[in-house]
Amino acid sequence: MLSEQERNEIEAHLLHYPDSRAVCIEALKIVQRHRGWVSDEGIADVAEALQMSAAELEGVATFYNMIFRKPVGKHVILLCDSVSCWIMGYERLREHLTGRLGVSLGQTSADGLFTLLPNVCLGACDHAPAMMVDDAHYQDLDPARIDEILAEYERKEGESTDGKTTDP
C-alpha cells in the first residue's frame, strides 16, 4: 500500500494533467525515492492508485532506464559512456571503478553501498569524463578523483553506521 507521504506527493502532481495516467512515471519515481527501487508490490500500489492495470504500468516502468525494477545499492553511480567521455577516458574509468568496487557494470558492491551503471551523455561534455552519484554530478574525472569521491561516500557511511551502534 502507498504510504501517506507517497500518496500526497503523487496527488500533488495529478493537478497538472487532465488524466491520472500521465503521472504514472512520476509516481514510480516517488515510490522509488522512498523505497530505493520499484518492486512488484510498488507496481501494484501505483497501478491501483492510478486505476491502471499492473501489466500496463509494468510496460511503462520497464521502458525507462531510471526506474529500477531490481534492488540497487545505497548509492547509484552513473558513469557516462557516450562519445565525448569515451574519447576523454571512459574505458580507463570503467576499469578503475569495476576493479575498485569488485563488480561488473550493472552490479552492486558486496557491501551494498554502490551500484555501478553505465549511462548515456550527462551533458557535461566540456568537462568529460563525467559521472553522477545519486543526484550529484562529478566531472573532469580521473582514477584519483574517483577514489576521493568514493572515499567520501564511504566515510559518511562509516559515520552513520557508528552512530547506529549504540544498542547494548
Binding site: H16, I25, I87, C121, A128
Partner: protein, 425 residues
C-alpha cells in the same frame, strides 16, 4: 558582438532572480507582446528567420503556422518546451536552463500567447537536477508576480506552466515520443500525420519547441526581426550556442553569430588541439550528424552550409576526433548508443542498429571480414530516411556513412591486421 541569450549568464554566479531579471529588461517582451495581436508576433518570428535549435532546423514560424487559431480552434492547446537534452556531445540547453531560467519562462509565455496556448510543460531530462530546482523556483516566482496563471497582467490571457521531469531514454527527445512519455506511456514515436500541431497531447493542438528556440523569442519581440537577422552572418536569424568537446585545449560553449566558421570556433574559442594531438575530423552537431574533416574547416556553421558540406548543423555542439583516437572505436561507441536507445518500435531500427554494433565490435576485436564494409554501407541505406517511424535510425546512419567514407583506411587496417591498431596489445 551582441549575446542576447547569454549576456545575463555567469557560470560563477547563481542565475538572475526575478527582480534582477526584470531590472535588465526581463518580462518587457511579455508586456510588449500583450500590446500586439498573436498573429503579429507570429509574423515577427517569421520575418526574423528563426529556425528551430533542437537539431532539425525547421522554421519556427512555419511550425507554428499549422496550429489552429481563432474562435473555432480546439482547446486546451498545449506548448511543450523540449528540454530533454540527451544528444551525445550536447550541453547547450543545460546552460540556458541553469543560467537564466526566467528567460525561458518568458519565452514560453510569449510563445504561448502567440499560439493562444492554455497549458505549457517543460519536459526536462531527469539528469538535470540543478536545472530542475532553478526552473521550479523561476516558475514559482513568475506565478507569484502574476506572469503565469489567470488573466496575466490584466491581458485576459491565461497560462499554466508545469515542470515535467522524465525518467530517461534518448527517444523522449523525439517530439511525438515525448508526447507519449508526457502522457505516461512508453515513449514510442507516433505516426505522422496527424502532426502534433493538430493532434498532439491528449488529441489537442500541441507545439513542441526546443529550449534555445524559445529563449530567442522574447529577444525577437523586444528588439525586432531586423535586429535579430542582423545578429547572424547568414539569412537565418540570430546567434547560436556553439560548443566543442574532445581533445581541444579549451572545451566549452560560446554564443556566436549564426554562421560562424568551424575554424573560428575550433581555433579561436576552443584554443585548437591539445599539444600532441592532431585534428582528424568532427561531428558538427552531436552524435547523429555526419563527420566532417580538415577540408571543411572553413565551412560556416549554419543549417544550409552544413547541409551543402554533407552534414547537418544539428545541435551545433561539435565533437572532435583526434589522431590518437580510433575512428572505428568511436563509431562503435556511437552505434552502441543508438542501438541501446532504439525504442524497439520498428524493425529496421532495432534489428539494424544491433547488427551494425556487432559488426563494429567484431572489427575492434580483430574479427572483421572484408565483406563487412559493404554490409555496413548497405545498412546506412536501409536505415536512411523513409524506412523508419522517426529520425533515430537515419541519425545513426549519418556518422557511419561519412565515417566509412573518410576513414576507410582505418576500417581496412582493422580488417587486415585483425586488431585495432590503436590498442596496445
Amino acid at each position: 558582438m551582441e549575446k542576447p541569450l547569454t549576456h545575463n549568464i555567469s557560470s560563477a554566479n547563481e542565475p538572475p532572480e526575478l527582480a534582477q531579471y526584470e531590472k535588465s529588461g526581463g518580462y518587457g517582451a511579455l508586456r510588449k507582446a500583450f500590446r500586439m495581436a498573436p498573429a503579429d508576433i507570429q509574423a515577427m518570428v517569421k520575418e526574423a528567420n528563426l529556425r528551430g535549435r533542437g537539431g532539425a532546423g525547421f522554421s519556427t514560424a512555419e511550425k507554428w503556422s499549422f496550429v489552429p487559431m481563432g474562435d473555432d480552434a480546439p482547446h486546451p492547446k498545449y506548448l511543450v518546451c523540449n528540454a530533454d537534452e540527451m544528444e551525445p556531445g550536447t550541453f547547450k540547453d543545460r546552460l540556458l536552463l541553469e543560467g537564466n531560467p526566467h528567460q525561458l519562462v518568458e519565452g514560453i509565455i510569449v510563445s504561448a500567447y502567440a499560439l493562444q496556448a492554455d497549458v505549457a510543460f517543460v519536459f526536462l531530462r531527469w539528469a538535470y537536477k540543478l536545472a530542475a530546482g532553478r526552473m521550479e523556483r523561476a516558475i514559482g516566482e513568475a506565478y507569484r508576480q502574476g506572469y503565469l496563471g489567470k488573466n496575466i497582467l490584466g491581458s485576459g490571457f491565461s497560462l499554466e506552466l508545469h515542470l515535467h521531469s522524465s525518467a530517461g531514454r534518448y527517444i523522449c527527445g523525439e517530439e511525438t515520443a515525448l508526447l507519449n512519455a508526457l502522457e505516461g506511456r512508453r515513449a514510442n514515436p507516433r505516426a505522422k500525420p496527424p502532426y502534433p500541431q493538430v493532434s498532439g497531447l491528449w488529441g489537442k493542438p500541441t507545439i513542441v519547441n526546443n529550449v534555445e528556440t524559445l529563449c530567442n523569442v522574447p529577444h525577437i519581440v523586444a528588439n525586432g526581426a531586423a535586429w535579430f537577422r542582423s545578429l547572424s552572418h547568414t539569412a537565418d536569424g540570430g546567434t547560436k550556442l556553439y560548443g566543442a568537446s574532445g581533445r581541444v585545449k579549451k572545451p566549452g560553449l560560446w554564443e556566436l553569430p549564426m554562421g560562424t566558421p568551424i575554424r573560428e570556433i575550433l581555433e579561436e574559442h576552443a584554443g585548437g588541439m591539445r599539444d600532441g594531438y592532431e585534428f582528424r575530423g568532427l561531428l558538427p552537431g552531436g552524435a547523429s550528424t555526419d563527420f566532417l574533416v580538415a577540408d571543411h574547416l572553413d565551412v560556416a556553421m549554419d543549417f544550409d552550409s552544413m547541409q551543402a558540406a554533407g552534414s547537418r548543423l544539428g545541435t551545433g555542439t561539435m565533437i572532435i576526433l583526434d589522431d590518437r583516437t580510433c575512428p572505428v572505436g568511436m563509431l562503435l561507441n556511437l552505434e552502441h548508443f543508438f542501438a541501446q536507445e532504439s525504442c524497439g518500435w520498428c524493425t529496421p531500427c532495432w534489428a539494424g542498429l544491433s547488427w551494425i554494433e556487432q559488426i563494429l565490435q567484431d572489427m575492434e576485436e580483430g574479427n572483421g571480414r572484408s565483406s563487412d564494409l559493404e554490409r555496413l554501407e548497405s545498412h546506412t541505406r536501409l536505415l536512411g530516411p523513409g524506412h523508419t517511424f522517426c529520425a533515430l535510425a537515419p541519425g545513426a546512419a549519418e556518422p557511419l556513412q561519412s565515417g566509412l567514407k573518410y576513414f576507410k583506411d582505418d576500417f581496412e587496417r582493422h580488417i587486415h591486421e585483425r586488431r585495432c591498431p590503436w590498442r596496445q596489445n
